[in-house]
């Protein structure tokens, strides 16, 4: 898979390679992979991709994309209980994320949390997160990260967050014509391997989407990326290809993941992949540094690389917009993209 590092995140650019005449420049998208802290805003509007320096014009850009039938927020990797130098106060940074959600000019309908709610799967850690998130006054959908299922195969996680889920915690639901699928890829991991969905879940997924119209927008969310971000560090899912094969018929598929504590995006055919910031601590870019552990950054920078993701579904314009927002207001990193499925 081609992966390109963003050398100049703030360069302006337009579509140069529109091979499918669908208004999407895939090479342009790859250029726009927003690495932690780089602060790039990429907007595709009317078939033109623009990448902006993040400054004062952010406000108007954001507002113009906030009009739609559905918007929701993704948060991830709160790691409640973590207290090492990379962030000694994960309560405060989660609280900051909540404040930011509550301050959004248009309130999202619900929240997705893509796992690693807790650091050590302790009841007190889950309690703290629940208490902080309660202030959003919103419905919250969770999938587990590996830190949430440490010592009990996920029993406690499912008791708390997966009452209506199937198997080890997977489920789906519909909101405003968009079909959401929460998957679990952090259980029964095999030595030497990556994240795993497993046959039981794959069979369920195939059945779950089989009868949906191909015009139905699909949003899949899971903890570990469902694409090969960096397998050497375990940043991928062994059987994600099988899962995505069931989604081929759909014109618009968005995949939202956490786990790697930084934002990255990729477009592959009808599928847009997206990873979210952590609300707790940053991790290095793939292959940068010695390993995938917590990255200590100067305290004043920390909040600029932690954050939330605001997702906006605009039915009339067939567009899903994914916008990452860091906890510090002045830094944003976002991707707004226009899907190319046809409403039937």
């Amino acid at each position: 898979m081609a992966k390109k590092k963003l050398s100049d995140p703030n360069a302006n650019g337009f579509i140069e390679h529109d091979h499918n005449n669908d208004g999407i420049d895939r090479r342009g998208f790859l250029k726009c992979m927003a690495w932690a802290g780089t602060g790039a805003l990429c907007v595709i509007e009317g078939g033109v991709l623009k990448s902006h320096a993040l400054a004062s014009q952010m406000g108007s850009e954001m507002k113009s994309h906030k009009m739609g039938e559905l918007s929701f927020v993704q948060i991830s990797d709160s790691h409640m209980g973590f207290n090492k130098p990379a962030n000694p106060d994960v309560i405060a940074t989660l609280q900051a994320a909540v404040d930011k959600i509550n301050a959004l000019p248009e309130q999202p309908e619900f929240i997705l949390h893509t796992g690693d709610i807790s650091h050590l799967s302790k009841p007190s850690e889950f309690d703290n997160v629940d208490q902080i998130l309660k202030a959003t006054n919103k419905e919250i959908f969770f999938v587990p990260g590996e830190h949430d299922v440490l010592n009990d195969e996920g029993v406690m996680f499912r008791e708390r967050y997966g009452k209506n889920s199937k198997g080890q915690g997977w489920y789906s639901f519909d909101k405003n014509g968009v079909h959401f699928v929460g998957l679990v890829n952090v259980m029964n991991l095999k030595a030497g391997g990556l994240g795993t969905l497993g046959n039981e879940q794959l069979e369920w997924l195939e059945g779950d989407v089989k009868h949906l119209k191909s015009s139905t927008p699909i949003v899949v969310f899971a903890h570990i990326p469902l694409w090969s971000v960096y397998p050497q560090w375990g940043w991928g899912t062994d059987d994600s290809g099988q899962a995505l094969s069931y989604l081929k018929k759909f014109g618009s598929v968005t995949v939202l993941n956490g786990h790697i504590h930084q934002t990255m995006q990729k477009v592959e055919g009808n599928v847009t992949f997206h990873t979210a910031f952590s609300t707790a601590f940053p991790q290095p870019a793939p292959g940068q540094g010695e390993g995938p552990g917590p990255m200590k950054v100067p305290a004043e920078q920390l909040r600029s690389i932690l954050g939330i993701t605001d997702v906006n579904y605009v039915q009339g314009r067939h567009a899903l917009a994914v916008v990452d927002s860091s906890l510090a207001q002045e830094h944003w990193s976002s991707l707004v993209f226009q899907n190319h499925y046809t409403e039937k």
Binding site: P85, L120, L194
Partner: protein, 118 residues
């Protein structure tokens, strides 16, 4: 004496002596700055150090987690499994039977290691 010569003489000797020679060939491990005991495995920066450890039967091997993130030590065949080890937590297992025990971190499965018990 050079390593090559040591290896040569080791090959000419009986099996236990050869093993002893192999241990001599890796003096840096035993003398590492952290003074890790020969039955300790350090879990550091998402790797096991050493990733292959050879011990006599009835040895107790201790893993100590030096990372800022938890790890879980799990035998690939289900012979042993630790609870989640937070930073500086330890887990020990006594190997009473000879054999090769492959293990990994069950939440970071790219991390793999081996204990050879003889």
């Amino acid at each position: 004496m050079t390593k090559r010569k040591l290896l040569f003489s080791g090959l000419a000797l009986t099996l236990p002596l050869a093993l002893a020679t192999v241990l001599i060939l890796h003096p840096t491990r035993a003398k590492s700055e952290d003074k890790a005991s020969p039955t300790e495995v350090r879990v550091d920066n998402f790797t096991f150090g050493p990733d292959t450890l050879t011990v006599p039967v009835n040895s107790t091997v201790t893993w100590v987690n030096k990372d800022d993130l938890p790890h879980v030590i799990a035998s690939t065949d289900g012979v042993f499994k630790s609870k989640a080890l937070d930073t500086d937590d330890k887990y020990s297992y006594t190997f009473s039977k000879a054999g090769t025990y492959a293990y990994y971190c069950s939440i970071h499965p790219k991390m793999v290691g081996k204990i050879i018990v003889q």
